[in-house]
């Protein structure tokens, strides 16, 4: 069995597709909203150098990635051990050498990677305009408003993804998450005022 097929098999027998998908969305939102909040706060603060914004946002993104990956690994490892132990009790045999044993060891690593990479990758995309501005590339908007707009696009994209999972109309699902983002920005502006 090829590597991807084998790993897909592990996800199937441990019924972990849904968990990985859920973690991707939850932590993707964490990353997107954290970046949105930081960029909005910097925008309201006035003239801030893109380098300061990039460093602050990157620091937050790395912290989110570390938090997400370690917490997911520890919790999933415990859950998979419990699952395997229950199965071994029912089968009255040691399954450590079977695919179920391999799944119990490897699936937590995969889920931890998803949980960590989701906020990191989305954060990197959102602060992309700041990097481009620092590199001297022209942008249609100023760097921070461009990053904020990118955050809204990412959040809209996550909403569409949720809509496809839930079988609802993609546009309403996307718009719903954008409304949440707008409420977040409004709250930040209200507090900062």
């Amino acid at each position: 069995m090829r590597l991807f097929e084998r790993f897909g098999f592990f996800l199937r027998i441990s019924r972990s597709h849904g968990i990985a998908r859920r973690y991707f969305v939850v932590n993707g939102f964490d990353g997107a909203f954290t970046m949105l909040g930081l960029c909005t706060g910097f925008q309201v603060s006035g003239d801030v150098s893109p380098t300061v914004v990039i460093r602050a946002c990157l620091g937050a993104a790395i912290a989110l990635a570390m938090s997400g990956s370690t917490s997911a690994y520890l919790s999933e490892w415990a859950e998979r051990r419990r699952w395997l132990a229950g199965l071994e009790e029912a089968m009255v045999s040691d399954l450590s050498a079977s695919s179920h044993g391999s799944a119990a060891r490897l699936v937590p690593v995969f889920i931890a990677a998803v949980n960590g990479l989701a906020p990191l990758s989305i954060s990197v995309v959102i602060i992309g305009p700041l990097w481009l501005a620092r590199a001297g590339l022209p942008l249609p908007l100023a760097p921070l408003p461009m990053a904020i707009a990118t955050a809204f696009v990412c959040i809209f994209g996550l909403g569409i993804f949720l809509g496809r999972i839930g079988g609802t109309f993609w546009l309403w699902s996307g718009l719903r998450t954008v409304l949440i983002a707008m409420a977040t920005v409004a709250l930040i502006l209200l507090v900062e005022a």
Partner: protein
């Protein structure tokens, strides 16, 4: 030369992988014909009757595949073997 033509096995397995995926995994070990019947089911396991037919069923390979799939072989209920003459040198 002895060729194993047919095996009927009593197997206990977890619910995952499902019977279709399970029987495909056994069949692809040697191009075998596999017939699987779920005899009993409880909360976490299924008891199966697995019939494997082929020109020469490799039992060791079947056992290894069962172990890999998390299954336990409870018993060999039927065997059909054929003694075939050695091919002339």
């Amino acid at each position: 030369m002895i060729a194993v033509k047919r095996l009927v096995l009593d197997v206990l397995k977890p619910h995952a992988p499902n019977p279709l995926e399970f029987s495909k995994a056994l069949a692809e070990q040697g191009g075998y014909r596999v017939r699987l019947t779920v005899v009993e089911m409880d909360e976490k396991t299924e008891t199966l009757q697995v019939v494997i037919e082929g020109d020469d069923v490799d039992f060791a390979r079947i056992q290894a595949t069962l172990a890999d799939l998390g299954a336990s072989l409870h018993s060999i209920d039927e065997v059909e073997v054929v003694g075939e003459p050695e091919p002339a040198a």
